[in-house]
């Protein structure tokens, strides 16, 4: 193949048949770089996780792993921590998901109505700022915001509003009951950027004539929202709900930074349980950790599949 291509090189244009052959050989060269990384660091690690979840593999132990069948799964499923972990992740999702859909939707509808293009652009750029701040820097920022000593949130509550004293001021992070809501607020703030821009793109796609016609027909703003705007935004909203459901059920970095490894902490979800077993306690029982991870993932995928199925029938 290569030879023919080289031989024909001087006499271009070549025949269409030869050119098609040449292109076909090249296709895999185009895909190869992406596939190497995708397979090497996504597909293969997951296949290995599935494999070691059926073994008693311990990373720090020197003995070779043995197949143990479903023993890891049985152990995980009978461990109350597994269920508490799934429940805590679900609780966080319930706190986070409504806010991260409704607030950006509201904000997008408001910004969409700004007629002055320059003002609208300024708004859009400011709103997108949280989306271009890298994740860990968001967590660090809010860790300081919630700080007991210098954080402006407690300062505002104690000194300005006076609803708390220094002694009674809330302890936001570090595994208290307030930790999950605090993280949820931070995540909503973080999502404000991308989600609003997503909805703005959806709103821009609605023909202006449609809303104007409804207005001429005597529909009020509320009716226009329910009957024109919302149905048009439904596809975007569904994608966002499914994607954010996935990310919020599998949060890990925030829990590692804000919660630690206290098993009683509300941040000790299935992801932390998995990480704890794989990298912190004992000989790093990675076979068991893999089973925990797979149970969490399958649990999530069932819900994601359900949501997709539900939305497909409606949309």
């Amino acid at each position: 193949m290569k030879l023919t291509a080289r031989m024909n090189a001087p006499s271009r244009p070549r025949s269409s048949e030869e050119r098609a052959q040449w292109a076909r050989a090249n296709v895999w060269l185009f895909l190869l770089p992406a596939l190497v990384f995708f397979v090497g660091y996504q597909v293969w690690p997951i296949i290995r996780v599935v494999w070691i979840s059926f073994t008693d593999y311990q990373f720090l132990a020197n003995e070779p792993a043995n197949l143990v069948g479903f023993a890891n799964y049985a152990e995980a499923l009978t461990d109350p921590l597994m269920w508490a972990g799934l429940g805590r992740a679900a609780l966080f999702t319930a706190m986070f998901l409504p806010g991260t859909i409704i607030l950006p939707l509201l904000l997008a509808i408001l910004v969409d109505r700004v007629r002055n293009q320059r003002v609208a652009t300024v708004y859009r750029v400011i709103i997108l700022i949280p989306a271009v701040i890298p994740s860990t820097l968001i967590f660090v920022l809010w860790k300081w915001m919630y700080n007991f000593q210098v954080g402006p949130i407690n300062h505002f509550l104690v000194e300005v509003l006076g609803v708390f004293t220094i002694q009674t001021a809330p302890q936001w992070l570090g595994g208290t009951a307030l930790t999950l809501p605090s993280i949820a607020i931070m995540e909503v703030w973080w999502g404000l950027g991308y989600h609003t821009v997503f909805f703005l793109a959806g709103l821009a796609a609605i023909p202006k004539e449609l809303t104007e016609a409804a207005r001429v027909d005597g529909a009020n703003e509320w009716q226009i929202f329910w009957n024109v705007t919302l149905p048009a935004l439904q596809p975007i909203m569904m994608i966002l709900i499914v994607l954010r459901f996935g990310t919020s059920m599998a949060v890990i970095d925030e829990y590692l930074i804000f919660g630690g490894f206290d098993r009683e902490s509300p941040t000790y979800t299935w992801t932390i349980f998995m990480y704890d077993q794989a990298f912190k306690t004992g000989l790093w029982r990675q076979g068991f950790a893999a089973a925990i991870g797979m149970i969490g993932a399958v649990f999530m995928m069932v819900f994601v599949g359900g949501l997709l199925y539900l939305f497909r029938r409606k949309g």
Binding site: F30, Y41, I46, L107, V114, I133, L256, Q286, A297
Partner: protein, 289 residues
């Protein structure tokens, strides 16, 4: 229809005007919520030491020496900054290279198995891949001798946003009509030349989007970096900051706030310049993917 649209701006009645004022107030409220935390950190980084210990927002004395102090006195900071730039730079360049090639191939080249590849990419977005794969990625890096290696982080970092980058480039390439490439082919250009001369200029906005997405992901990555490295000198600045809590000396509040500003500002300034292309690209490809 034309009359209807024309009629709207005419009716400047007080009710509509009040609605506009309320609208702008609500939007400005949200904008304030977004900007104020960042301004607070900026302010913290120029507060004098005693002022930083008290909660008061506005300091009695300013102190601008913290920036110089952290660069000179935190001995790992220059290394951490270099690590961040090094790892992020390579990750962005390699991921974008892979995504452009793959996105082009998935739209404009013919081959079998295309639907499978796309389905796998989408499935990887819904599966908690990043979280679950950390267990075995540690083993892979250990086998390759890359534990505690900064350069070794680049390999798993590339895949973090690879799938979404490919899907974005795919939807951007779908907007480029195939006839353009056909015309170039008839002129004797091979697929590589087609992509480089014809395709790349037309997908510029999408490229800006994936550059920013990959920069944001790699610059702020925590899980892999904190798991795969042990020494502070092997880590990136955000991970080092995540482990720092206000204390004494180099870890005093205004000083770590100065570090925060140093690592956050460049990205925000770059985004401010690229925002026009970014929004265009987002409309072209980001929303669909």
């Amino acid at each position: 229809m034309a009359t209807a649209t024309a009629a709207i701006p005419m009716q400047r009645n007080p009710v509509l005007h009040r609605a506009a004022v309320i609208r702008h107030c609500i939007i400005l409220f949200f904008c304030a919520i977004i900007i104020l935390p960042l301004l607070w950190v900026l302010l913290l980084s120029i507060k004098s030491m005693p002022d930083s210990m008290r909660g008061n927002l506005w300091p009695r004395n300013f102190d601008f020496t913290h920036y110089g102090y952290v660069i000179e006195k935190i001995d790992t900071l220059p290394i951490n900054l270099f690590n961040s730039v090094f790892v992020t730079g390579f990750t962005v360049v390699i991921t974008c290279f892979c995504a452009v090639l793959a996105g082009y191939a998935l739209v404009h080249l013919k081959f079998g198995g295309k639907a499978w590849i796309i389905a796998m990419l989408i499935a990887s977005l819904y599966f908690p891949t990043r979280v679950v794969s950390i267990i075995t990625i540690y083993g892979i890096q250990s086998d390759l001798g890359l534990i505690n290696s900064t350069a070794g982080l680049i390999l798993p970092y590339i895949t973090l946003s690879l799938a979404v980058s490919i899907l974005i480039m795919r939807s951007v390439f779908q907007l480029v009509p195939g006839e353009l490439f056909d015309a170039a082919k008839i002129d004797g250009a091979g697929p590589w030349k087609c992509l480089w001369m014809v395709g790349l200029p037309l997908v510029r906005n999408g490229l800006v989007v994936i550059i920013i997405v990959n920069f944001v992901t790699a610059w702020g990555e925590y899980l892999l970096c904190s798991t795969l490295t042990n020494d502070q000198s092997a880590r990136t600045v955000p991970v080092m900051l995540a482990h720092a809590a206000g204390g004494l000396g180099q870890w005093a509040w205004p000083r770590i706030a100065a570090v925060y500003v140093i690592v956050t500002a460049p990205g925000l300034i770059a985004f401010a310049f690229a925002q026009k292309l970014f929004f265009k690209g987002l409309m072209e490809g980001g929303i669909k993917a």
